[in-house]
């Protein structure tokens, strides 16, 4: 049960967005530009969603990991296997580029604490072709999901068990972005 009185029928962060629309607006604006808008990064929306999924999985945030995993799948032409590998933390064998593997490694370091990112991690990403901006965006996505995960779990919001709920949310967000009305679980 959530730690505070939240509107029913909305899972995870959506219940918090309904509870406090004032803080919901900048939070949604942040993910819209950081993850969804195509022209804001040279990483594709699918790649950015995978970084969000991986970070959320490392933080063991069930709602965020499953939701962003589903969004990633829909952004990556239905590639369910890559999402499964990222959620299982099998990055070495996941169906992503070497550049993405290096960036996911940086994201995992950020998740444990920013100081864990080393010069060698950055050099490795550069060697695989990552730009300054891509390194920046990876660090900020991982940091942002350390925020979203803590918000969602710190208030003990409801995380559905039904995989089809996450898939429906994933399809909606991959298509519409983050600024539209929330999915209501019947």
């Amino acid at each position: 049960m959530p730690h505070i009185n939240l509107p029913e029928g909305y899972p995870g962060i959506r219940s918090l967005f309904m509870y406090n629309p004032e803080t919901a607006l900048p939070l949604n604006n942040l993910v819209q530009t950081l993850l969804h808008d195509k022209n804001t990064s040279t990483l594709t929306p699918g790649e950015r969603e995978l970084i969000a999924t991986y970070t959320s999985g490392l933080n063991e945030c069930k709602y965020c990991a499953n939701t962003h995993g589903a969004i990633a799948k829909h952004q990556l032409n239905g590639n369910e296997n890559v999402v499964k590998d990222v959620l299982a933390k099998n990055i070495a064998t996941a169906d992503v580029s070497d550049k993405m593997k290096a960036l996911l490694q940086i994201a995992s370091k950020v998740q444990r604490g920013g100081k864990n990112v080393t010069e060698a991690d950055i050099e490795n990403a550069r060697k695989e072709g990552a730009t300054d901006k891509e390194i920046h965006d990876t660090v900020l996505i991982a940091a942002a999901f350390c925020m979203f995960n803590r918000y969602v779990d710190g208030l003990a919001t409801w995380a559905p068990d039904d995989a089809s709920v996450y898939d429906a949310i994933g399809k909606q967000r991959a298509t519409e972005g983050y600024m539209t009305k929330p999915f209501i679980v019947k």
Binding site: T23, L30, G113, H136, V139, M147, N149, G154
Partner: protein, 184 residues
């Protein structure tokens, strides 16, 4: 040295928020609402939450900056010193002690917030909105701490730098403004 090229005149978070402005704007807006907007917690109390989380996450830049902002808002340098050393014996209300413990837990992981911790805060008079804001401030500073340290941004060693920054945060808040860092 930072891992990416940042404006050398803007250390810590200031250079990162300058590097990518489209993501900086919602982060700044969220911070302004949480730390300066209408709340039953004072600005000093909310800066204290930011300080405790940054200290728990060992982010030296954020800890020093928000310590300075708290000190100037409370007009007292003793509270931040005591709270960073031991929340239980610090000179803050029992409600703030309960909220600071929740914030510190959130800084590690949201799942560490227990029903007992929440009930304790309620018994000391904390409202749902105060619990919500405490947890979101703690979550937001978990972002800032990682952003600042993950890209190895510069941490000035001169204490006077943080006094100047603390005054900017007190006088101008968090939204973008012209010549915001002219006095830095």
């Amino acid at each position: 040295m930072p891992y990416i090229p940042l404006n050398e005149k803007l250390p810590g978070i200031t250079g990162l928020l300058d590097y990518r402005k489209d993501t900086a704007l919602p982060i700044r807006e969220l911070t302004q609402i949480l730390l300066r907007g209408a709340s039953t917690l004072t600005e000093g109390e909310r800066e204290l939450i930011a300080t405790v989380v940054s200290h728990g996450n060992d982010c030296k830049f954020c800890t020093a900056a928000h310590t300075a902002a708290t000190d100037v808002l409370l007009d007292d340098e003793n509270v931040t010193i005591k709270v960073k050393a031991d929340i239980d014996t610090a000179p803050v209300s029992n409600k703030m002690k309960a909220l600071l413990k929740i914030a510190k837990a959130v800084g590690k992981n949201g799942k560490l917030v227990t029903e007992d911790m929440v009930n304790n805060a309620r018994e000391e008079g904390a409202t749902d909105m105060e619990l919500h804001d405490t947890i979101l401030i703690a979550a937001l500073f978990s972002l800032y701490n990682r952003y600042v340290d993950g890209l190895a941004s510069v941490t000035p060693t001169d204490p006077a730098f943080y006094d100047r920054l603390g005054n900017i945060l007190k006088d101008k808040g968090y939204l973008p403004s012209a010549n915001r860092y002219a006095d830095l």
